[in-house]
Symmetry: C2
DNA sequence: GTAATATTTGGCAGCGCTGCCAAAATTGTG
DNA sequence: CACAATTTTGGCAGCGCTGCCAAATATTAC
């Protein structure tokens, strides 16, 4: 029906057509458009006018193929539902957009097999660089990345071997610092709530650092609740409830992130458990929601945006492989 | 230093080299790789083996140029820091990934000029389709999109004129439904907290629907607090505080999203304002954080993930232009 | 004025792949 | 075994652009 009305511009406008319209060679048009090489002011105006009139949109696919160099930066993260990762992206965008680079985002759902798949398909687009969350990858992923010749930065975690650039902080040390805080404040019967270690290596490392310090202090983590892939208020709340049902004598609970911790806090409010006198609550990440809770949450503020930004800058710069540590900060609220 | 060690595979492996290695023509290799056309089982195995050994990664840039058809879908959203948009993306990914399409995400920061820019640069990559949040665009954006020939779906809002496909719900009606709820429950001195109307047209439309119903009921919105670009607990909390300082007689406040509303709820907890007897709180979006607050928040659950999924499906399908309404749902909690 | 120099422009090959079609190899038929 | 039908394979043009270099034109020097 009405295929006449629906006259989609079947024939895309190409450089050649602009060239014909202006009466100049294709190379000249191309130079003007990329503002590269020399051409007269008059030429420039004529070209721009024609481009405008014809509605020409340069074809970057052809351009990239011809010049071998895309303006795409691949970013690979486990999830978008944990504020950490949007923050990382914002940071990267701050560094990348002004220099004309576009980000292509892929989500792995905390699955390194899935990560391998998405990296493989991104590689097919020959990105200028890669930003990947974490240091844990399949062997094949590591190999692909290595001999792709693409610059890569691994973000958020410095506890391990990187492929090229690594920007982050020691997750282990962050866990340890959290434990030191709880120990100093006198807590001894401590619980832990976090994601299954199998899929979140950073949470695992934090836990290792955490429990090592607790053990040194002559205590041990009395209870743990390990939960699935969703970082949410709901599961944090439910986990704390279960944990306290099992072991009401706990005096502090460490949550692997603030979403969980706020859920825990909600449980305490709802069950009239007074915080921190009956039970201390500590989170991780320094989310807004925790900072502005009725009782501000004690947490560790992580430099996510900076990590994204610095990672992006480094990956675009020349220099050799490096590890950059961006410090986290323990923020005491009113819950410990 | 050690440029010998650092032997990055300068010469990328190409189809031609695979072809040479296997001793078959390039077209044959290409057919095997795309599993398209016919070839013998033996050939297939030989090719796959060589591909594996050489570490060949097909160059989609060349492929797309030659076949004119990319597997990229552009998604344009105002922010990643409002859970609405990650949800939209997840929905789209569910529909797109299984059929081999990759999403390229761009963020506009609620700025339609910025939107124009990002759409222009995405267009340069000749995406197979576009998913864009909202109906409000610059004239130029609309024109570019129209004669790009790329299929486009506008998401989240059905109050207005779409370019092609529109999937969402009536924001105005959602606001009106919220107002009806508050009126029915007997509230009359009502406040509103939301983003500046200038940059968030959907919030504006909700407010319009909301205030129209309030007016019909013989009341009017007694107080409004309009705030900047950040949707966060903090600003919601501060806004409510200011509002109540000005006008302590309010009996209900409608927040334009749950983040704000939870901030308001926190203010009430902290200031010992009893909810809902002294003050009713209502939010919008149906976020986890609101549902599992000590007092579950009354809110409107919006079908974000479905909208993303259905939008993606429609944009990939044939059919003509359409408007699809995905219903929202008012969820009464314990705060009204 | 001409020669030397600087600026602007055009032509053409080729980036790595796919689509098309014809050639070669394989299988089936009487 | 010849011939037709079918399956598998290869050759080549060309997608739209850029990089290179040479040609044309403008500018300056003497």
């Amino acid at each position: 029906m009405d295929q006449d009305d629906d006259q989609r511009q079947r024939t895309e406008v190409t450089l050649r057509e602009v060239s014909a319209a202006v009466g100049l060679g294709m190379s000249t048009i191309s130079r003007v458009l990329r503002n590269h090489g020399s051409f007269s002011k008059a030429t420039r105006d004529r070209v721009m006018k024609a481009v405008e009139e014809l509605g020409y949109v340069p074809n970057r696919i052809a351009g990239t193929l011809a010049s071998s160099g895309s303006n795409l930066v691949g970013i690979v993260i486990p999830s978008l539902h944990n504020i950490v990762f949007p923050d990382l992206l914002s940071g990267a965008a701050v560094a990348l957009n002004p220099i004309g680079f576009q980000t292509v985002i892929a989500v792995t759902d905390y699955d390194i097999e899935q990560e391998q798949k998405v990296i493989q398909s991104m590689l097919a687009w020959r990105p200028a660089a890669f930003l990947v969350a974490g240091l844990e990858h399949t062997e094949r992923t590591r190999a692909m990345l290595k001999n792709s010749g693409v610059r890569i930065a691994e973000l958020l975690d410095t506890d391990g071997e990187g492929i090229d650039i690594v920007v982050g902080f020691s997750q282990r040390e962050a866990g340890a610092a959290s434990a030191r805080h709880l120990i100093e404040r006198g807590y001894r019967r401590i619980g832990y709530v976090g994601p299954e270690f199998s899929f979140d290596p950073r949470a695992r490392k934090r836990f290792e650092g955490f429990s090592a310090v607790i053990a040194e202090a002559g205590a041990s983590v009395a209870e743990t609740e390990l939960i699935g892939r969703t970082s949410s208020t709901e599961v944090g709340r439910a986990a704390l409830e279960r944990m306290l049902a099992r072991n009401p004598s706990l005096d502090a609970v460490y949550f692997s992130n603030d979403d969980f911790a706020v859920g825990g806090l909600f449980h305490c409010f709802a069950s009239k458990i007074s915080v921190p006198s009956q039970l201390a609550i500590m989170g991780f990440n320094g989310l807004d929601i925790g900072r502005f809770a009725p009782q501000p949450l004690t947490t560790v503020r992580t430099p996510r945006t900076e990590i994204g930004e610095i990672g992006a800058r480094m990956v675009m710069a020349q220099g050799g492989a490096k590890v950059v540590d961006i410090p986290f900060e323990l923020v005491r609220g009113a819950t410990t």
